[in-house]
Amino acid sequence: MSTLKLDLESYKDLLKQYIETQNEQALYRAEQFSKHSIQQNITPDEIINVHIEALLELYPDIPSNIQSSLNFLLETMISYGLAYQEYQALREKQLELQSEISVAANMQQTLLSTTKPEMSELDVGAISTPAKQMNGDYYHFVKDQEGSLGIAVADVIGKGVPAALCMSMIKYSMDSFPDSRMEPSVILEGMNRVVERNVDPSMFVTMFYGLYDPDTHEFNYSSAGHEPGFYYSAKNDSFHDIEAEGLVLGVDRSVKYEQYTQHLDVGDMVVLLTDGVTECRTGDRFIERDEISDVIHQYKHLSAQEITEQVYRHFERLQDFQLRDDFTMIILRREV
């Protein structure tokens, strides 16, 4: 209360100074006063009130019709004062929510963390960056007892918190599969049943599962409606789409997934991605898939990890550093 009194005094001085001099300095101090008032959560109607009180103290014989008009002005400002207080309360709430989400995002990162496998046969690179704070993309590496490497990439259609919640469930279901070798089609069929039972029908999940056998150098894979990746043939120095038919997860409980095989020679690459990569936009235009393979080609002398990072940087810049969707890319390259 005492600070408000103090402010009335200083407001009165400022007002007096301005009325007498009409100079810019007084107006500048008025601006300072209003900033200070905002910091102290003083509402517009309180300012009007201070003005009226200051005016009456400076000019006690103000005509009564002017006095009435000032009271009328005060009355109209009361609701603005309320709106301002509501705005402040909502702003605080928003900050609270934001910090909650960032805590959740950290938790999610811990949850979804996966270790990139070290294999002499294979150079592996992976990058996954959420468009907002939380990631609706998921990738996971798992080495089975026979030494094969399983790679899962999934994408919840949508982004933000709902997609991230759904993703956590996918992760737990993946963890519940046994360590023995599982065929990609069997894994997708299992995940399909999980998603069908547990996820709202308005939510779609696409998933790709690949299994690399370091002895035969065969890459077996199945796809549940997932964005096709690329196969790079070192011999022909060319890219092909990794096409695979399959319904998105959670639509039909009894769906079967086809399994495909791609043999990898030394220097060949498999590129897996989510639609956050292919649906990058420059201006009004979606990028062409060729542009992605061109960029990969441009950096193919680098390590798999460096390639993913360079591709990400390229498209991040192309989109003015504002990702529209979660961006995930995995590159596997046969070394020996």
């Binding site: 209360m1 109607d45 009271n71 005060l74 009361i78 609701s79 309320l82 909502l90």
Partner: protein, 133 residues
């Protein structure tokens, strides 16, 4: 002080009557212009809620006094449908009158004490106090 006076709310015009009586009493108690305006705004909200959602009801005023201070108690009573979820109604941004009214959270901000009792199908009683400081 057990003096209490009420204004019946049946039509929109009664909101003005409630404001007028509330302002007169506030003036008598000694509230300044700003507080008078705030009290009047709170009365508007309470009376408009009755008019819009209950149809009829009343707004009553009572001068109150304890050892240290004087104040005004306003009680808005209706026998309307009641509020289903008071917590939701008290949330900022959940305005029942199309975003234009300050709603009950606004009333709470304008006054010093606030209480609401609502039973579905029986009605609502909002009890607020403004102390003279």
């Amino acid at each position: 002080m057990d003096f209490q006076s009420c204004v019946n709310i049946k039509k929109e015009w009664d909101i003005v009557g409630a404001r007028q009586l509330g302002r007169d009493i506030s003036k008598k108690i000694g509230f300044g212009t700003v507080d008078q305006a705030r009290i009047a705004t709170a009365i508007s909200e309470l009376a408009r809620n009755i008019y819009l959602y209950a149809g009829t009801g009343k707004v009553c005023f009572e001068t109150i006094e304890n050892l240290n201070e004087k104040g005004l108690r306003i009680i808005a009573i209706d026998e309307g449908p009641g509020i289903r979820d008071v917590t939701q109604v008290m949330e900022d941004g959940f305005s029942t009158s199309g975003g234009l009214g300050a709603g009950l959270p606004g009333v709470k901000r304008l006054m010093d004490e606030f209480d609401v009792i609502s039973r579905q199908g029986e009605g609502t009683e909002v009890n607020v106090v403004k102390w003279l400081r």
